[in-house]
Symmetry: C2
Subunit: 285 residues, 2 copies
């Protein structure tokens, strides 16, 4: 007598770029899903994603994907996620789990939770992985291996959603930590959004005629400035209060450097440089 | 009848770390030198440099190296180069060429030129290569391949010195450009010293408990903060006027960002990010 087995779930990926495509590849590697569906705006990229194995099929549209998926992951720009989730919540399967991979959390989660039907489980997520590159062509099955994914429960999050989302990210190779959306946005303002702002500010200062005088230092320090403004402007806007605060903290530090430079204050310069070195050495390569 | 051949010259490398060691390996690869001599403060590193083939022999001391070398390259911290050159100028071979690999030029060149004997040819150099790593163990024969070395003639530089130094760097694989020491220091303040300052400032802001929330963006942007303050404080002090100016320009740009963030000004944020992206895309990886 054959044992009854539960059918494997269907995964729906909304936005199959670097992150969404990597989720598909890692989900395929996990063997946990019967089917990987994807949707998005760029038809050529979706066809590429199928060819690369990031997804099995392109869903006709977002409602068609929502009707079939047991787990939905939204990997679209942060200014579109809440609206997209709410637009399909009514057609999702009962008990479907919805999460996202957005770089900001508080604003979009609050928008979603205000209007989400009760039989849908939702929790925000943010895998701390990625790069300045875009598109399924850069997706990698190991993108999340040993990286941290933050899940951000609120008092309104069903307990089961946190458990299911954590298991989902772990099945992709990630470590998982739970913190509140506000804690997430405060931390990421400093660890991700400010570095992007600084890289863009520094790159934007470089006159054309000085490009030939750049070497690895300039290139490393500005690398993430190559990220798409269409993704980053919404991130900056969603997190503008925390990011303004982080920018002001950096400015205070730059003033310390400027004053030490003007005074040719060797001890202070050495201390400021040593503080940076200690942190960077501790982070490892 | 055998043709008379000119003996190949001896190269003397003062400070056989990442840069000095790579000069040795690239000089060996070029086949232009009969002997590679090195000296420096760290005995274990020098022995390592011999073992790795960066140099043939460790000179007993700096005067012993100077007595034997036809070309001397000083790869020591910028606050020691002028003093070291002047300390051995009197014992150098007549017609010896002296250059250096320091990251700042105007101050040390002026110190050297004020006191250098007339039969020594001196010109400042700066190969735009390297990394946050230190020591001969990180030296590479191809470090200078297709990279730019800036040579910085002044009205007092013998014409032959510029030619000989340019040929020397080209024989190591480098491209070579001549600009004045002041132009060098102004350009490098923006393209090298400011990125280092920013990386150190950003890294220094990170509290211990937020380290786990860093990903590639923070790591790339702060990578060069791992550089040794013992090398970078003298660079900052030598170039403190230009670097202060570059820092103020960055601060103005950060204020533009802050104001746009506070006003939730999407158009300005997008413009600022797009300006940075354009420059970074043009630089290539």
């Amino acid at each position: 007598v054959a044992a009854k087995t539960q059918a494997k779930p269907t995964l729906g990926i909304v936005g199959v770029g670097l992150i969404g495509g990597s989720i598909g590849l890692a989900a395929r590697r996990s063997g946990q899903f019967s089917r990987l569906l994807g949707t998005g705006r760029d038809r050529a990229n979706l066809e590429n994603a199928v060819r690369l194995g990031c997804i099995d099929e392109v869903a006709a549209d977002l409602p068609a994907l929502a009707e079939q998926a047991d787990i939905l992951v939204f990997c679209t720009p942060v200014d579109r996620i809440a609206e997209q989730i709410l637009s399909v919540a009514a057609v999702c399967k009962p008990g479907a789990l919805i999460t996202d991979a957005g770089s900001t959390k508080a604003q979009l989660i609050s928008l979603v939770e205000d209007d989400l039907p009760g039989d849908i489980e939702f929790i925000g997520s943010h895998p701390l992985a990625g790069s300045e590159k875009r598109g399924a062509e850069h997706a990698r099955a190991d993108l999340f291996d040993n990286r941290l994914t933050i899940v951000t429960p609120t008092p309104r999050t069903p307990a089961d959603a946190e458990k299911r989302a954590s298991e989902f990210w772990r099945s992709l190779g990630s470590r998982v930590m739970s913190i509140s959306p506000a804690e997430h946005d405060q931390a990421l303002a400093l660890t991700s959004h400010l570095p992007h702002l600084v890289a863009a500010a520094l790159a934007g200062l470089l006159p054309t005629e000085m490009r030939e005088f750049t070497a690895n230092g300039f290139r490393d320090t500005t690398r993430i400035a190559a990220g798409d403004p269409a993704l980053w402007t919404p991130i900056f806007l969603h997190n503008h209060v925390e990011l303004t605060d982080a920018t002001l903290r950096l400015q205070r530090r730059l003033i310390e450097f400027s004053e030490a430079l003007l005074a040719a204050d060797e001890a202070t310069l050495t201390r400021l440089l040593a503080e940076g070195k200690k942190v960077r050495d501790d982070l490892g390569s």
